[in-house]
């Protein structure tokens, strides 16, 4: 396949051993691209390993909005041989990957270390450009220019910067923007490191230009200064973290787990400035229960975890529900399951788990944002729902959203309102008679804030009467079950439809793509390509999983002749949910359960295969 220049899009991959600093280099590059007014979508794939195993960072950039990655690579930057050819040669057992050379598009190029002395024939490609760069030698020249001659071995970690610089020289990007970003990230005592890194980038870029006449087929220019829009470049962990601060979060309890930890660490780093208490608990059972304790005391509380930790939170969620705790909000960053599964990879396989997180029937709310803006707005609103309906709320995210780094046009905070729900005001004070679980028509009982005179209550995880005391009486049980479950009906009536689902494209189309969560970007970016192939397509993204917008979804799908369910799991969990509530079964399924996020290509291939082969079920995996 030739590089499609009409897209004006660059797909750049930096690969190397884990712990070798590829994150820092790739994120620096991504920031320099964003500074140039480009739209950036970057994401990392890495092993559950501290040091040594293959990881790679993919940066896609374009002057027009993009929200997904491609399988194809225009420029591959390799820090080691494994990035090129995989690990079959080094491993005795099942190889984990075959390298990235085959993904490089014709006309694309590969930057690699000349010291690896790789015979060009090994690439088995005569349609791409090879750029062997002697990393250490170039680094030595760069360091010498900065007055650090003879220190290349000491600064060996800067090989990354050399590789990055060479690729920047080859694609013709503005080195001044790169320099500016480097100088911002190395300030104060680290200022000297900035000089060295700038020297490495500039020396390597010049070396690449001087030694190789042929350039990769895709060149990337910054948007002209006057036309540049400054965008926020953030990851899901930032979007969620900032939303929580905006929502007035008081306490976050967590236990370290991939891929959720970064969010808590980010919040803790802002704890002093933003008056936030972050507690590293002894396990996830403690996390959820600390959060429930804080929520009952009137503080907005949250916990953040992944599947294995969520499994431990089960009884705590039921406890929050039966005691009508105002929250907590539980952020579930899905990863590959079951059990330890694929700790650092992405999957959408916890939807049914999030819908049934504990024993018994109880109300809770589950929302699944599809991108970083939704992650922000949904996370913010989740706290309002927790207070209004006094239920646990689950925000369902995944590793892909957690670690994807991309440009967001901006967060509009002007319309955000904090709603703490009904709070009991004792009148007159110091007169008891308060009923914490008073029976009401909409199921919501005003909550008292402990510490306040005149509203003393005890409540319990046992079934209880309106005052919160244990009772096993039949009439009370029926009334309490109805009262609690009624809150779900109330929430369903009150939550605006923009939080429930979104239909992208025409109201009626030949084919409806039904999906949820982080595949949104790849889906929307795939639609124009499908339309160019003559397909009439719309996309139905489900956001609110509980209470489920059954009538609205049923109506849309009822109008659709062909519905293709697209999900990152084995069983089609959203499909089961839709069928449960609407009786409608998607005509086709495109599923993916290899632990990697959907690429744009996989969506296109999956849809085309489903339609042309008339396959009811298609599995895609390009990784």
């Amino acid at each position: 396949m030739e590089i499609d220049l009409s897209r004006r899009e660059l797909s750049w991959v930096l690969g190397g051993p884990q712990g070798g600093g590829i994150n820092a280099s790739a994120e620096l590059f991504a920031r320099a691209l964003a500074r140039g007014g480009l739209s950036v979508f970057a994401n990392i794939e890495f092993h559950s390993n501290i040091m040594g195993k293959h990881s790679y960072y993919r940066v896609t950039a374009a002057p027009h909005p993009i929200r997904s990655h491609l399988d194809e690579i225009h420029v591959l930057v390799a820090l080691d041989e494994e990035t090129l050819f995989g690990d079959a040669a080094q491993r005795k057992h099942y190889p984990s990957h075959v390298g990235h050379v085959h993904q490089v598009l014709a006309g694309g190029g590969i930057v690699y270390d000349a010291d690896l002395k790789i015979d060009p024939a090994r690439f088995e490609r005569d349609d791409i450009h090879l750029y062997p760069i002697p990393y250490l030698e170039v680094l030595e020249v760069a360091l010498a220019s900065a007055g650090r001659a003879g220190q290349a071995r000491k600064h060996i970690v800067m090989r990354n910067t050399v590789a990055l610089g060479a690729s920047i020289g080859l694609i013709g990007y503005d080195e001044d923007l790169v320099e500016a970003v480097i100088r911002e990230s190395f300030k104060g005592r680290k200022a000297e490191a900035a000089d060295l890194n700038v020297a490495a980038v500039r020396t390597a870029a010049a070396y690449a230009r001087d030694h190789f006449a042929a350039r990769p087929g895709v060149q990337l220019r910054a948007v002209p200064v006057g036309e540049r829009v400054q965008r926020v470049l953030m990851k899901g962990v930032h979007a969620v973290g900032i939303a929580k601060l905006k929502a007035g979060l008081g306490l976050q309890a967590y236990y370290p787990i991939s891929p959720a930890t970064d969010e808590s660490v980010y919040l803790e780093s802002k704890g002093s400035a933003y008056q936030l208490v972050v507690v590293q608990a002894e396990d996830e059972i403690a996390s959820i229960n600390m959060a429930v304790g804080a929520a009952h005391m009137g503080v907005r509380a949250a916990t953040s975890t992944a599947g294995p930790g969520f499994a431990l939170m089960s009884e705590g969620i039921g406890f929050a529900a039966i005691t009508e705790s105002p929250g907590p909000v539980i952020f579930l960053w899905q990863r590959g399951g079951p059990s330890t599964g694929l700790p650092t990879r992405s999957e959408q396989a916890d939807l049914q788990f999030a819908l049934h997180p504990a024993h018994g029937d109880f109300p809770h709310i589950v929302i699944a944002p599809g991108d970083l803006e939704e992650a922000f707005y949904h996370s913010f609103e989740a706290f309002n729902w927790a207070d209004r309906y006094q239920v646990p709320v689950i925000v369902l995210l995944d590793k892909f959203l957690a670690s994807s780094l991309y440009t967001v046009p901006g967060i509009d905070t002007s319309r955000l309102r904090i709603d703490r729900g009904l709070v009991y005001q004792p009148q007159p004070p110091d007169r008891n008679g308060y009923r914490r679980h008073a029976l009401t028509a909409n199921g919501i009982s005003p909550r008292a804030v402990p510490g306040t005179p005149g509203s003393i209550f005890s409540t319990t995880s046992d079934e209880h009467d309106p005052q919160g005391h244990i009772t096993e009486g039949v009439e009370n049980r029926i009334a309490m079950m109805r009262k609690r479950m009624e809150k779900l009906e109330t929430a369903a009536r009150e939550i605006p439809s923009s939080f429930k689902y979104e239909l992208f494209g025409p109201r009626k189309a030949d084919v409806t793509l039904l999906a949820w969560g982080s595949s949104k970007g790849a889906l929307l970016d795939a639609v124009p390509a499908l339309e160019r192939r003559g397909r009439s397509v719309n996309v139905l993204q489900i956001r609110l999983m509980r209470p489920f917008p059954a009538a609205e979804v049923g109506q849309i799908l009822g109008d659709s002749k062909t519905t293709i369910l697209i999900e990152g799991n084995y069983s089609g969990q959203l499909g089961a949910l839709v069928r449960e509530h609407t009786g409608i079964m998607p005509t086709h399924k495109v599923l993916k359960y290899d632990g990697r996020p959907f690429s744009r290509n996989e969506i296109i291939e999956g849809v085309e295969t489903a339609l042309s082969d008339r396959s009811p079920q298609v599995m895609v995996s390009h990784a």
């Binding site: 926020v232 306490l251 208490v277």
Partner: protein, 317 residues
Amino acid sequence: MPEASPPRTYALQEYKTDVHVDWCPGCGDFGILSSIQQAFYQLQLPPHRIAMISGIGCSGKTPHYVDTYGLHTLHGRALPVATGAKLANHELTVVAVGGDGDGYGIGAGYFLNSGRRNLDITYIVFNNGVYGLTKGQASPTLAKGLRTKSMPEASIQEGINPIAVALGAGYTWIGRGYALDVKHLVGLIVEAIQHRGTAFLDVFQTCPVYNDLRTKEWYAGADIGRPRLRRLDQDPGWEPHVRNPRDVDEIVEKKVRALQASYETGDDRLAIGVFYQVDLPTYDEQMAHKVPALKDHPLVDLPLDQRNIEPLLRELE
């Protein structure tokens, strides 16, 4: 501004609810409940400034019987809930209660880690050696070889020494009482609540229905002709308080003495009283260093809905 009303006093009755207490007749829990109420009364704590947090089991019902704010939580999870509650409002007096199975079995991880944390809360364990509410199975404190009347076989596991575990975990106030010596127990609870840091109080409690071995008569030593319980405070040489918390040698010495007292002479001589106490920075105080606004106000009163997130967005541009 309304005129400041004179500080009111609270009657003992104001710490009691009218909820029917459904413990068995003669249960040791009555002594502990009464001691808790009397301690609150002695300290004249306003009932609305107290949060009682309990686990599951007979002891878990305690908050329903004490007229303060209360959360009757999950089996083994009283301490995490109490931790969250205290962090949300450190001005409240937070008292966690639970059984020995609750605290040393299913909640063992929280028993350990709460010692590390040293939040300013009190944790009272109703220790009767059995799982009462599920009809008398062996709890983590039932000694090896014992077989209560509802056990099909004798226990082949050792019973743990909670005082020793608490010393290792880092509790800064460690005591033990006896449910049927209410006067002594009230004093211990008062001291535990007054202690700045996590106070851990293990209470020998009789279960007249399921533990037919550790009975009122057994504690009284009817079979050996002298009481089994020995009050530490009756030993003139006993000094459990660390005078200089920066003196590692003194801490080690006091901990070793407490450990010895906790093992003393096995089942024939059981020490009750204060085993160990030290003043160390609490988790709440250290959190207030990280989040300075907590020095003046509890978290629940901070204007957290006024945050300006623009700087956070700008630093990501």
